[in-house]
C-alpha cells in the first residue's frame, strides 16, 4: 500500500474491508508519516467528542421556549408554488446580468469568471475576444476563500 492509498483509507475509517485494514496496519507500522496522520486524525475525533458531548437541554429550556413561542403567531405554511418558482428564477437572472455587467468593463474576478464559465453564460472564446485570460484553478480557489474570509 502506498502513502496516498493509506491516507485515503484513514480518511474513510471504519468502512474498509479486512484486507485493506490489514494492508493499512502493515503500512502504518513502517511509515512514520502516515502513522502520525492516523494518530492525529483519531485524536481530532476524540477532541471533537470531548468538545461536543451529547447533552440534553436544562429543565427550564422547554419552559422558556414554550413561553417565547406563546408570544408569536403559529408558523405559516410556505408561499404558493408559483412564488417559490419565480423568486429564484428572478434572483438568478439578476445575478447573471449583474455578473456579466461586472465582467465586461474590467478584468473579471476569478470567481465570477469561473461561475460564468461553469453556468455556460460565457465560453472560453469569450475571454479571448475580451482579451482577458480565463481564471486558473488556483486563482479560483484563492478567490473563493478570500470572499469567505470576510465572514468570521
Amino acid at each position: 500500500m502506498k502513502c496516498r492509498e493509506a491516507r485515503q483509507a484513514i480518511a474513510q475509517r471504519g468502512v474498509m474491508t479486512s484486507p485493506v485494514a490489514n494492508e493499512l496496519s502493515v503500512h502504518l507500522r513502517d511509515c512514520p508519516g502516515c502513522a502520525a496522520m492516523a494518530r492525529s486524525d483519531r485524536l481530532t475525533r476524540l477532541l471533537l467528542e470531548a468538545l461536543t458531548p451529547d447533552e440534553q437541554p436544562s429543565p427550564d429550556f422547554f419552559a422558556r421556549l414554550r413561553a417565547r413561542l406563546r408570544e408569536v403567531a403559529p408558523p405559516a405554511s410556505g408561499s404558493p408554488f408559483w412564488v417559490k418558482a419565480l423568486v429564484p428564477t428572478l434572483a438568478s437572472l439578476t445575478l447573471m446580468l449583474g455578473s456579466i455587467a461586472y465582467l465586461l468593463p474590467t478584468p473579471a474576478s476569478p470567481a465570477v469568471s469561473f461561475h460564468l464559465l461553469h453556468a455556460g453564460a460565457v465560453t472560453p472564446e469569450t475571454f479571448a475576444v475580451l482579451g482577458i485570460p480565463p481564471p486558473t484553478r488556483d486563482q479560483v480557489l484563492a478567490s473563493v476563500l478570500e470572499v469567505e474570509e470576510q465572514v468570521p
Binding site: 481530532t44 477532541l47 461536543t52
Partner: protein, 202 residues
C-alpha cells in the same frame, strides 16, 4: 428530560412539522427534543466554548419555529437546523469581536499534560476529568477559524458528506474540502506542538 415534552420516535419529522404548522406546539416540542442534541453539539462546537450555548440553541429553535413553513416536504431537518445554528453562531462571534472579547487559547501546564494523555495513552482517557478535557478541546479547536471549525465539526462529528456541509454553510464543495484540509493540518500542528512541549513525538 422534560416529561411534558412529547418525543415519539415512531412519528416522522414531516408529520411533526405538519402538526406544528396546524398549531400543535407539542408536536414542535417533539422536534426540539429530537434535534436538541444535534443543535447543542453544533453550537458548542462552532463557538468552541461559551456560556451562552443554551441561549443560542433556544434562539435556533425559536427561529426554526417561525420559519417552519419554509421546510420542503421530505427534506432533512438536521442540516436545516444546523444551518440556522451555524449562522447564529457566526452572528454571536461577530458581536464578541465587536466588543473586543477574545477567547484565551494558550494552554496551561495541566492542559499540556492532558494533551499528552490524549496523545499517548487513550486508555487513560477516562481518568481525565470530562470537563477538564472539554476545556482542552475548547482551547485547541478554538484556535481554528470559525468556518474551519464548523466544517470539521459537521464532517467529523456529525458525519455529513461534503455536499451537505456545503449546503449548511452556503459555500462550495471545493471550499469545504479546502477548509477541512486546513483545519486538519492546523490541529495536527497544534497536537504536534503539544507533543513537543511534553518532550515526546506525536
Amino acid at each position: 428530560m422534560n416529561s411534558n415534552v412529547e418525543d415519539r420516535p415512531g412519528i416522522a419529522d414531516g408529520e411533526l412539522v405538519a402538526r406544528a404548522l396546524r398549531g400543535d406546539q407539542i408536536a414542535f416540542e417533539g422536534l426540539v427534543q429530537r434535534y436538541s442534541p444535534l443543535v447543542f453539539r453544533v453550537v458548542r462546537g462552532v463557538l468552541a466554548g461559551s456560556a451562552e450555548v443554551e441561549d443560542i440553541a433556544q434562539e435556533v429553535f425559536f427561529r426554526a419555529y417561525r420559519s417552519l413553513g419554509q421546510v420542503e416536504a421530505g427534506s432533512r431537518l438536521g442540516p436545516w437546523l444546523a444551518r440556522i445554528a451555524v449562522n447564529l453562531c457566526y452572528d454571536h462571534l461577530r458581536r464578541l469581536r465587536r466588543r473586543g472579547e477574545r477567547s484565551f487559547s494558550e494552554l496551561t501546564r495541566e492542559e499540556v499534560g492532558a494533551v499528552d494523555t490524549l496523545l499517548h495513552d487513550e486508555t487513560a482517557l477516562h481518568a481525565v476529568e470530562r470537563l477538564f478535557l472539554r476545556d482542552v478541546a475548547e482551547r485547541l479547536v478554538g484556535r481554528l477559524a470559525p468556518k474551519d471549525r464548523a466544517v470539521l465539526l459537521l464532517k467529523e462529528r456529525e458525519g455529513m458528506d461534503t455536499r451537505e456541509v456545503a449546503g449548511v454553510l452556503g459555500c462550495s464543495e471545493t471550499a469545504v474540502r479546502l477548509r477541512l484540509f486546513r483545519a486538519r493540518r492546523t490541529l495536527r500542528k497544534l497536537l504536534a506542538e503539544g507533543a513537543h512541549w511534553t518532550g515526546r513525538d506525536l
